[in-house]
Symmetry: none
Subunit: 423 residues, 2 copies
């Protein structure tokens, strides 16, 4: 008898899907990894293939997770900035233009010598407060909000009339260069060009003010005395316009949702979507993350939330670094986490989907729009004939081909958390 008030877990190995790797004998990293627990899930569950946002669309972390939790990225995504800002703890309102920022180090000629200001550990709150004091009257009638987060991370929000988010990054993403001048983006339509120019001008002024305020600040005097690189500029990037997103619970008929994820951008999306975002001690977002601590947090919270989305970042890192061995080891960490859940969760009342938010093949070194293998297991799931979890076997699985937007509806179906459509 399947349970009618079931709990749901989306468990993602970030970028876990891939392509054939010559150095692994033509196997994918998933095939080369030792994954007894993932294979158990495949053997006892039902597999399928997922194109997050359609065949061939290489989604980012933000757009992938948007579609998984119930938003249409093609109409509701306007840049990462609002998610970054929300993740840093800034309020973001529809119409705001928001940016991720780094505290960085400039040399005397104004060239960037450290994009992360020596991974600055303290003093950024004071720097941000001093900058906010200077900007408290706004710039040209536009309100300015700036907040520091962990280490070098910060965010900027502009709130006012006549702004446009289609502007270029100030952060040149490389050292030895001066901060780039913010300009209207190449793809900005003619009717929005004036607003984009106004926004770019404001951003450039903001950067100048940050240089002035940070340059002479006590925090940086102390850092110089200690031989540490000063945090003497803030570099905005990833501009985005905030749009109204219905809260997760409203989209999903009152179901409560939580995220246990390691990427700030996705944490910000979770907060933006009105989900609880849970912290896990030992979740580093790196190859050294404590996957058992993450799995325990998932297991411990299945009673508190209807839907938990969990993402372990490490496989994606191996993919971006084109490091097949690192990716294989990271996938084995995901397998350990799944093993913990297999032993711990009450599968009579819980349904899980294990998958990935996109492929990050080591051969591509970036996200691709290839299908990712997924497997559903637990309460309500009809077992299929697939016995192994990998890209090749999942293609003949029982759930068939899905988009990202179809995952929560299918989980809700298995969990008995959906109302009959019709009579």
């Amino acid at each position: 008898m399947s349970h009618h008030d079931g709990k749901m877990i989306l468990f993602l190995g970030d970028g876990m899907g891939g392509r054939d790797v010559p150095s692994l004998g033509g196997r994918t990293c998933l095939e080369a990894a030792d994954t007894p627990c993932l294979d158990t899930v495949a053997r006892l569950g039902a597999s399928g293939m997922m194109y997050l946002a359609g065949p061939g669309v290489p989604v980012g972390s933000d757009t992938a997770h948007m579609t998984l939790v119930g938003y249409d990225p093609f109409t509701q995504y306007r840049g990462r900035g609002p998610f970054e800002a929300r993740g840093v703890g800034l309020e973001v309102r529809p119409g705001d233009v928001a940016f991720r920022c780094n505290f960085s180090t400039l040399d005397d000629e104004g060239r960037i010598t450290d994009r992360r200001a020596g991974h600055i550990k303290s003093g950024t709150a004071e720097l941000a407060a001093a900058l906010m004091e200077r900007c408290k009257g706004g710039l040209d009638g536009v309100q300015v909000f700036f907040k520091a987060s962990v280490e070098h991370r910060a965010a900027l929000v502009l709130r006012g009339e006549g702004l446009d988010y289609r502007v270029t990054d100030v952060d040149p993403h490389d050292v030895g260069l001066a901060p780039a001048v913010c300009r209207p983006a190449p793809d900005v339509p003619d009717e929005a060009r004036a607003a984009a120019q106004k926004t770019a001008d404001l951003v450039n002024r903001f950067v100048e003010i940050a240089r002035e305020v940070f340059g002479g600040h006590e925090v940086n005097r102390e850092r110089r005395e200690k031989g540490l690189p000063p945090a003497n500029v803030a570099l905005p990037r990833g501009a985005g316009e905030a749009v109204h997103l219905k809260p997760f619970a409203e989209i999903h008929d009152g179901l409560s949702g939580a995220m246990i994820v390691e990427v700030d951008l996705v944490r910000g999306l979770g907060l933006y979507a009105g989900m609880d975002v849970l912290d896990v001690d030992g979740a580093t977002g790196g190859a050294d993350t404590d996957e058992i601590a993450i799995a325990r947090a998932v297991a411990d919270n299945t009673g508190r939330y209807d839907v938990i989305l969990c993402n372990i970042k490490a496989p994606d890192l191996g993919g971006h670094d084109s490091d097949a061995r690192a990716k294989v080891r990271a996938i084995e960490k995901v397998d350990h986490a799944i093993g913990f859940l297999l032993d711990t969760v009450n599968w009579g009342s819980t349904t899980i989907m294990v998958g990935a938010d996109h492929c990050t093949p080591v051969s591509a070194g970036d996200h691709t729009g290839d299908a990712v293998p997924v497997v559903f297991y637990g309460n309500g799931v009809r077992r299929d004939l697939v016995e192994v979890y990998c890209e090749r076997t999942a293609a003949s699985g029982g759930v068939g081909q899905l988009t990202g937007a179809q995952v929560v509806p299918l989980l809700r179906n298995f969990a008995g958390r959906v109302t009959k459509f019709g009579a």
Copy 2:
């Protein structure tokens, strides 16, 4: 390492998919054909099933190729005429109403005795010039353009206010009948009926004028003397309204596209879409076509274009003729062409999709909306577990189920020619 600036080939056997054939022991023509090269592609590549415009929609050559190269046939297709006219070399502007025409032979009672005027080889340019001379002032304020093409083929374009393309064919598609009177089509909506009536009246006058001009023309006097059927009328059919189609390169972020195809209608679409349409000596469009010459042209041009679409017509002819043996032989020609490409193309930097534009089952004798098997191979493609190319095996392939519109995006993904959507 996958190549990030890859080339793409869409290789189609026209109408190559089919249904079970009792005379082939229940096999499809694809299964009965000897196709070692197609099977190699399947074994080393990733298969799937494609519904060009949706399950059960039996597309034409024009609508199938429209969706493959990036247009939505449901909103952008308004009849074949504009593609035919463009293929003949007539200029076509948005709003024009265009027709394919045949030079045909009428007897003294005005009945059609030969729809193709004895496959007339010469003199049609003179006939067309004489007709254009008579129509140069326009008809009722509507400009008239008529141009002869190869043999009996020609096209007509009407340009002016208050026209509508929903009118019936003058060509009755059979001999022994008089040319049909052009009328508003049965499905023309009330608000367009007057425009369709005006258009039909113009077409009927055009046919009358063609009879007058051609009847006494020197070209036909000579033909009668030689015992050849005179080309003493032009019969319009396939009316269509020209709509603006964005060029292929504009749809696909600057990628260049070329067609190597054997069907005039598709050649016209290619030109209409701003693609280069390449000629191949020996490409006859028939069962005797030189498939190796076609394959060589594809291989020779992969360096010059980002995307090449190639179509070998012969399998479709066997399907329309309900001739299973002819279709099997034609499929074997496609296999030879694929074999040439396997030996010739640099697959480290090139991705191919092999498939069909629709099924033409010999049991149906026409296009059907069944899924066609497709297979992707080469740069970026993750091998799946399918080992044979046919309708039945492709169903469990790694790329899953696609629409025609998803093919180029998926090819671009494999070829590394797409920008990440999100961050």
